[in-house]
């Protein structure tokens, strides 16, 4: 009956809200150490892979294959198959590089910065946010390499004693990029893996097939949960978080230097580093939502990834969205305040020139839609709406990079050298292909690795509370 259903719905809703704070609970009530462990390990250790997984895996695999086709043709012919030319010599490759790296940043923010701030609600989402970081960095790292022209000589970027007696030029931001992005990739993988070691121990002990026992046994490195190990582990996690925090801020700062160090109107501005970092986190949280919302539904994880998580991510997006808005505003202000003819023209051309539509998309998707509606708690806890917003912001942030890269380049100082930019089918295939590669890797992760950190969830359960009596006896 309709009315009965409604009543029950209200009753379950009340259980999900914490009476003390009026907020949604971080973890739905009624979970125990064992139920949480069962829930998370069963997703991986089940012999029955859901059919939907295979369907999505097929789609991701097909798109990743398309990427391979596009790359093969690129390696055979060269970057001429792309839309890049003079004056717009940076196109999709750089746009996508910045977009993907930015997406990765939210994962590090969730795993590192929120850990330092003791935001324990992050525990449910931090593992797959970190996985998202790593796969996003994989996709991002691909673009500068294939943009090199002769990608098989990519190792020339590294300082090594070559027979040519040539060394890299350390005063270039492009060189800084090599170290920033490679460090980011390595530290993200290490942080992710170290975080999984205790969970691998759980998987090893719960696996029934021999292959799974060996596989997770090797991955767990023999973890046995000794408290001495745990204390060193906790120290190392905190230190890694403390190191990843300045790292993540530096990576997008260095990427913004790629632009800001150039003397080109539209690029040469000091607002770029903070504005890039905020934009990265903005788009990254959008991507976390894009992934988390279908995942919790598909794997019935509503008890662990609750409305509270969605709500909090909405708040972070609101805050970073306003920093981004400030960045846009400051760009426009400086175009006028600098009294530079070139700056003013660049801004006018960006908003009203032949590619003004891209600026309009950016303002609509990044400012008009999210920043007006995310104030409402009702909308922030509406799952469907948040999924919609996540797609909108991802689109908007892609266009932000498009606007920065293309509209600054295609009409520079001399009208005689003006041109335009039009992406080719190979550009689109490469971009969509990396989306497929990302999906492919992420689905493998969801199927074979514990996607929610069990040991961290356990610390938040009521069973983990140590009574005041025990504490008092300790005398500390």
């Amino acid at each position: 009956m309709a009315t009965g259903g409604l009543k029950e719905d209200e009753a379950t809703r009340d259980r999900r809200i914490d009476a003390a704070t009026g907020e949604y609970r971080v973890i739905a009530p009624g979970q125990t150490f064992r139920s949480v462990t069962e829930k998370i390990t069963r997703i991986v250790l089940t012999p029955d892979t859901p059919l939907g997984w295979f369907a999505l895996f097929g789609v991701g695999g097909a798109l990743a294959t398309m990427l391979m086709v596009a790359l093969t043709w690129l390696f055979l012919i060269g970057t001429g198959i792309w839309g890049i030319t003079q004056p717009a010599a940076w196109g999709f490759a750089i746009i996508n590089f910045v977009w993907w790296i930015g997406i990765g940043h939210a994962g590090t923010l969730i795993s590192a910065i929120l850990l330092l701030f003791k935001q324990s609600w992050r525990n449910s989402i931090n593992r797959f946010a970190e996985a998202m970081t790593i796969f996003a960095v994989v996709c991002a790292g691909l673009f500068p390499l294939i943009h090199l022209g002769r990608p098989w000589l990519g190792y020339w970027l590294l300082p090594y004693p070559s027979t040519m007696d040539v060394w890299p030029q350390f005063r270039s931001p492009l060189m800084w990029d090599v170290f920033a992005v490679s460090t980011y990739a390595i530290i993200s993988v290490v942080f992710w893996y170290i975080g999984m070691v205790p969970d691998f121990g759980t998987m090893r002990d719960r696996a029934e097939s021999k292959i799974a026992q060996y596989f997770y046994g090797l991955c767990s490195l023999g973890w046995r949960g000794s408290v001495r190990h745990w204390m060193r582990y906790e120290t190392a996690s905190l230190l890694l978080a403390g190191l990843a925090t300045p790292l993540v801020l530096s990576v997008h700062t260095v990427i913004s230097f790629d632009f800001a160090v150039a003397v080109l109107p539209g690029w040469h501005t000091t607002i770029f580093p903070p504005y890039f970092v905020a934009g990265a986190i903005y788009s990254g949280f959008a991507m976390v939502l894009t992934l988390a919302i279908p995942l919790r539904k598909f794997y019935h994880l509503e008890a662990l990834v609750t409305e509270r998580h969605i709500d909090n991510m909405g708040k972070v997006m609101l805050a970073t969205g306003f920093i981004v808005a400030y960045g846009y505003g400051m760009e426009i202000f400086m175009a006028w305040y600098s009294a530079s003819h070139w700056e003013a023209f660049m801004m006018w051309n960006r908003m009203f020139g032949p590619m003004g539509w891209a600026y309009l998309v950016l303002v609509t998707c990044n400012l008009a839609i999210p920043l007006t509606t995310l104030w409402s708690r009702k909308l922030r806890t509406s799952i469907g709406y948040m999924f919609f917003i996540s797609i909108v912001v991802n689109t908007g942030m892609w266009f932000e990079r498009f606007v920065i890269v293309v509209t600054s380049l295609y009409r520079d100082f001399l009208p005689s050298s003006w041109g335009t930019y039009r992406a080719t089918k190979w550009d689109y295939m490469t971009y969509v292909g990396t989306l497929g590669l990302f999906m492919f890797l992420f689905l493998l992760f969801v199927r074979f690795l514990p996607m929610i950190p069990m040991s961290e969830i356990r610390t938040m359960l009521p069973g983990a509370k140590i009574t005041a009596k025990t504490r008092a006896e300790a005398g500390d």
Binding site: F170, F179, V227, R228
Partner: protein, 180 residues
């Protein structure tokens, strides 16, 4: 190393972290030194109870970070000033502000790797075999929802029957003997 034989220790199983902490603290007060607790998530109070207060991971991380910083800055200086000096728009060959960026990244890289691998090394991991895995109830509980206290045979106070009775005092779920 030849395989050891005999008893590794006695393993008491508890249902709650509170019971484990009480038992561990009492054992420590009674003079036990070769003992360890096993928990499915970090329980700081249990580490305090067995007298494990400090660890060397921060020191290892600091040393690693400094090595990274010095290594990269020295490499950049050597390359730009001596090995391959280039005139880029008349800027000095020793452009230290520019060198700070990669040096900063390597500080983080080396510190991070030192923290992770230093932690594993100090823990003696990877160690794929450990006698505790022989205990019948260990693997079902220690990584899921049970809390264990192990009094090891290497402790001079250890005596199989007396220690077993001693552990029974704490009202554990079970006490089992662990063999090598």
């Amino acid at each position: 190393m030849p395989p050891r034989e005999g008893t590794y220790g006695l393993l008491a199983e508890f249902d709650t972290p509170g019971d484990l902490i009480r038992a561990a603290r009492q054992a420590r007060l009674d003079g036990w030194r070769r003992l360890d607790c096993y928990t499915p998530y970090p329980v700081e109070e249990a580490a305090e109870a067995i007298g494990f207060h400090r660890n060397k991971v921060p020191l290892v991380t600091l040393v690693g970070g400094l090595i990274g910083l010095v290594a990269m800055f020295a490499l950049e200086t050597w390359v730009s000033v001596w090995a391959f000096p280039l005139n880029i728009g008349g800027r000095p060959t020793y452009s230290w502000p520019a060198f700070l960026v990669p040096a900063y990244e390597w500080t983080i890289l080396f510190a991070g790797l030192s923290a992770a691998f230093g932690m594993l090394a100090l823990n003696g991991l990877p160690a794929l075999y450990h006698p505790l895995f022989n205990a019948p109830n260990f693997r079902n509980g220690a990584t899921t929802d049970k809390f264990f206290l192990c009094l090891e045979a290497l402790d001079p106070k250890f005596d199989l029957s007396k220690t077993k009775a001693y552990l029974e005092n704490f009202k554990p779920v079970s006490v089992v003997e662990v063999e090598y």
